[in-house]
Amino acid sequence: MRSFSYQRATDPGMAVQALSADAAANNPLTQATAQPLAGGTTLIDLMKLDVMRPAAIVDINPLAQGWSAIEPGSGNLWLGALAKMSDVAAHEDIQRNYPVIADSLKLAASAQLRNMATLGGNVLQRTRCSYFRDVSYENCNKRNPGSGCAAMDGVNRMHAVLGTSEQCIATYPGDFAQALIALDATVEVTGRSGTRSMPFAELHKPPGNTPEIETSLQPGELISAFVIPGRWPRSVYLKARDRQSYEFALSSAAVALDVQDGTIRDARIALGGVATVPWRARETEALLKGRKFDDGLAQRAADAAFADAKGRRHNSFKIALGKRVVAHALQQAVTMEI
């Protein structure tokens, strides 16, 4: 960790101002000289590891009063960016009407982390790629653009099989983002020129040739809220992992269905643990829509999700695993009692 200055935000305008002070030096955003601090469970870790080296920290926790609401309104669910993972996971309305959200949060990290961590910080958590997190490895295009990728032919069991590029195969590690992308959430962004909205699906950027650019956020922009349209009581989050708790997904699936008389009217599927960004499986959804559910369909739909998957030395198993997880999650969603 390197020395940094610390400022507490007094209001959103001031926070945005402080974060965009040195705009020229703020590219890419992940290497910006000023970083917002929410729960700190990603940011402080990465600073201790010397991976992130901000010169200034702007603590946005004082904005919690306006930015941590959990509002299951009539049509839309509104979640403030500073709401804690644990509070959202424990919220009764969310457990009832959006089990996929509650479970994606409940199955993430540990109780202590969930008590600290915020929704905004959660979706912006960074990859767990061991080579990225250890600065003694020079070859990491994400951390050190143009230096190569140590994981490509290294130890890559945890790495992605979808959305990879020749530059980076790092997995997007979070769980909650899968629920958001599946449910067509929008994200509310507060910046210098006020508040804008964009589809959550546009927040994260696949690595391509610039793995150092992870999101479409601009310097000085903060996530203030997430908005989820509709209700999804028939939804599940299934997470396969090496141990029973407190562990990232090897493969996960967020599934939300609208089933009437055995026919799938709408299906929303997103995959975690296998892709470089929160991953919507639209091919799978297309196969399911308008059809009667059976095991064969589940299998075909799951296969479709991984049609373009590319495995490497240690992570090829994720393709077969991912398919089984999708099929299993579909079954659970279809048979769940609501």
Binding site: R128, V135, E138, G154, V155, D242, R243, L321, R324, V325
Partner: protein, 763 residues
């Protein structure tokens, strides 16, 4: 009595609560890096990013500009230290790779610089800013890497004495009715004790005090003195509490003398707290091993031929070797046995002891093979063990001092519900989960070493016991206090125990599960000296008879008729007769068969353990049987082990509470070793990749919902005065195989490589 404090059976002590329980749960227990220092400087390590090659140059400019930096020590300006020999070659060190000696680099994560600063934060920041230019050479990472060399262990490592053999293996195997040949692999693993590999060094003139988690304060004191070329009496190591050891703190690491040297130069205490990932390379670990087992049996299951060949990875510099064939060739009755252990040298840090060092990898192989043989014979695996149970080990024919292996199997099988198992693989399931039951034998040699103790008894019954033992979380304080209270007949609350300080009378390394047997035997002997002195004062013409020794404590009423004639000792009267208010005795105890130089070696920090298969006319082991239930999700292939049941017999159980806790921890670690723990090595660079607790997985509570420990009563009068067999390393030995055997039962798939992960399950 509760599950945590099991009712003592015959040959067991009371399950009294831990002596240090309150101090620990209230945070008052002081560990090495908690020790207050007067105006310390803080050290932070810089470690190498290559595993083999040279340092061309350092660029320290940026680092030195960090405010608060005092000095940056590299090979160019490091204090000169004497080399230290490996512990197994008569030295103290766990590695002979001495960092900061030259520009050469011998392994990943070798210490290449130490930043010293006014604060931890400044030292860390400056360390981050140190720039190093290397000339890297291609390293050999492990078994299959080009450039490794392989040779028999015998002759390379002084502590590896024999490749046990008996009869004519080749012929017997050839002629055997049923044969099995199978190969097994175990991974690299790291101890990861909770307390980091810290050290603090403070000089007062020419005297050095070291606060450091150590499992051997006498070894460390003498080793550091040797490296600094000073008198050992000038060095004191203090660690009243050690936050876990598991073998990683038994031998000296290079960090201590380096920090001591820097502190001397600065004329100021220096405190080092390395990071978790640095712990993977600045200390030892369990290296990966490979095994080939050949078993030949008759149709009724009797073993006729057994061969165990093992290979282990070590560093280029040191021929470290665990060599578990001394155990696996002797566990079962078998007339024709052969074995061979080899060492493969790679560009790695030197491995070392890790909880039950040889038995864990070697019994994984043998106990998996036994299960495979049982399948071939269509025999219950418990019965296969029964058929091959023995009272004498097959190599030299020596009798086991006691052996309750089958009693353990029977008790554990009953508690587990083994009879509910349907034998066919893949025949049990529960919803989405395939269910499998598996079992394995576990065993660990009974060892003890020379130990001294000092006991002081006051007129009011207050007692002080001093011994340079180690509280690594096992319960050493508690059982030493219990032993003294019992032997002197004073109330437990009146006993104070002082351990973890090399100014106290020497005790052996807290390793090889010898501590209880050694320390308690010494404490018992010295307590008897105290009683003898008081008896003499009251009854100058009588001596403390053996009967009285056994039955009468000070202030206790005799319980048997025979003892009554010896009259209980009235403490007040005895002290009056003595004309003093304190009796203090010091004594040195050594086990039968300990070498002549035992006591001298004990003071100079050399261990002279005896026991196990090395005893002259007997063999001493503790035994157990372990049963596990695994569940494998049909769809995700996730593997869980919801039930672990073990029954153990280890001579006298000093305290069923602390014993259960050790054995429970062992079962959990065994499960962890089978399903979770592996240090991943990048083959191209010979570097450890998952060197942190987020990536190196250990179980969480949700992984171990059901762990049951059964303690069997066992009396053994042939081992040591305390009658105790060590059990700290007993329980994690059998679990690896038991889990794989259960996975086979659940799936029909035999997995011979650890750890087993979901991608290894085929369907």
């Amino acid at each position: 009595m509760t599950a945590a404090a099991p009712e003592p059976k015959a040959t067991m002590g009371q399950p009294v609560p831990r002596y240090d329980a309150t101090a620990k749960v209230t945070g008052r227990a002081t560990y090495g890096s908690d020790m207050p220092l007067d105006n310390p400087a803080y050290a932070f390590l810089v470690t190498s990013a290559i595993a083999r090659g040279r340092i061309n140059s350092f660029d320290l400019g940026d680092a030195k500009r960090v405010r608060g930096v005092i000095d940056i020590v590299t090979h160019e300006n490091a204090p000169k230290l004497k080399e230290s020999k490996l512990f197994s070659n008569g030295g103290y060190a766990g590695t002979t790779i001495q960092p900061l000696k030259s520009a050469d680099i011998a392994h990943d994560g070798e210490i290449i610089a130490v930043v010293v600063a006014e604060s931890y934060e400044a030292a860390r920041e400056a360390a981050n800013r140190v720039k190093v230019s290397y000339s890297a050479a291609t390293p050999s990472a492990s078994f299959d890497s080009p450039g490794t060399t392989k040779a028999a262990a015998k002759g390379q490592n002084a502590q590896f004495r024999e490749d046990p053999q008996v009869g004519d293996f080749a012929k017997a195997f050839e002629e055997a009715e049923v044969k099995l040949t199978a190969s097994y692999d175990t991974p690299t693993q790291h101890h990861n004790p909770m307390e980091l590999f810290s050290t603090s060094c403070a000089w007062m003139g020419d005297d050095l005090v070291i606060y450091e988690p150590s499992q051997y304060v006498y070894g460390l004191k003498n080793g550091v003195a040797e490296q600094l070329s000073i008198d050992a009496d000038k060095v004191r190591v203090v660690n009243p509490y050690v936050g876990g050891g598991f073998g990683s703190r038994g031998s000296m690491t290079p960090r201590t003398a380096i920090i001591a040297g820097i502190a001397k130069g600065l004329n100021r205490p220096v405190k080092l707290v390395p990071t978790r990932d640095q712990g993977f390379t600045i200390a030892t670990y369990r290296a990966e091993t490979r095994h080939e087992i050949k078993l030949g049996a008759s149709r009724d299951g009797k073993l006729v031929a057994l061969r165990h060949e093992g290979a282990e990875v070590s560093s280029r510099a040191d021929a470290y070797c665990v060599g578990g064939t001394k155990t696996t060739t002797r566990l079962y009755a078998c007339p024709n046995v052969d074995s061979l252990v080899s060492i493969v040298r790679a560009d790695r840090n030197t491995p070392g002891f890790m909880r039950s060092p040889p038995e864990v990898p070697y019994l994984f192989a043998l106990e998996s093979a036994m299960d495979e043989l049982a399948v071939k014979l269509n025999m219950d695996p418990v019965e296969l063990r029964r058929v091959n149970d023995t009272t004498n080990e097959p190599i030299g024919g020596k009798p086991y001092t006691s052996r309750s292996l089958m009693a353990c199997f029977d008790a554990a099988a009953k508690a587990f519900g083994w009879s509910q198992r349907s034998a066919a693989p893949r025949s049990m399931s529960d919803g989405d989960w395939l269910v499998g039951y598996g079992c394995a034998s576990t065993c660990y040699p009974t060892q003890m070493g020379p130990s001294a103790a000092r006991v002081r008894l006051q007129r009011d019954g207050r007692t002080r016991v001093e011994i340079a033992g180690h509280e690594i979380g096992t319960g050493a304080y508690t059982i030493i206090a219990q032993t003294a209270a019992d032997r002197l007949g004073v109330p437990l609350e009146k006993v104070s125990v002082f351990i973890g300080d090399s100014d106290l009378p020497p005790a052996p390394v807290a390793g090889g599960s010898n501590s209880t047997a050694s320390a308690c035997s010494a404490v018992m002997m010295v307590c008897d000296q105290v009683r003898q002195k008081l008896f003499k004062a009251v009854m100058p013409n009588e001596s403390l008879t053996d009967k009285a020794k056994e039955t009468v404590g000070i202030g206790q009423t005799p319980t048997t008729q025979a003892a009554k004639s010896d009259r209980p000792l009235d403490l007040e009267k005895a002290f009056d007769a003595l004309g003093a208010s304190v009796v203090e005795e010091y004594g040195e105890w050594k086990p039968d068969g300990a070498p002549l130089d035992s006591f001298k070696a004990m003071h100079s920090g050399h261990v002279r353990l005896v026991g196990g298969a090395a005893l002259k006319d007997k063999i001493a082991y503790a035994f157990g049987a372990e049963f596990v239930e695994v569940r494998i999700n049909r769809l995700t292939h996730e593997i869980r082990a919801p039930r672990l049941v073990g029954a153990f017999a280890a001579g006298r159980i000093m305290n069923p509470r602390t014993a259960r806790s050790q054995l429970m921890g062992g079962l959990i670690w065994g499960m962890s070793s089978a399903l979770l723990e592996a240090t991943e090595i990048d083959e191209r660079t010979a570097r450890y990749v998952n060197d942190n607790f987020a990536d190196y997985l250990v179980p969480v509570n949700a992984d171990v919902p059901g762990v049951e420990v059964i303690l069997l009563s066992e009396q053994d009068d042939h081992i040591n005065p305390a009658g105790a067999k060590g059990l700290g390393e007993l329980a994690n030995v059998g679990t690896n195989a038991a889990i794989c055997n259960a996975i086979y039962h659940a799936t029909g798939q035999r997995i011979r490589k650890l750890p087993v992960r979901l991608e290894n399950i085929e369907a």
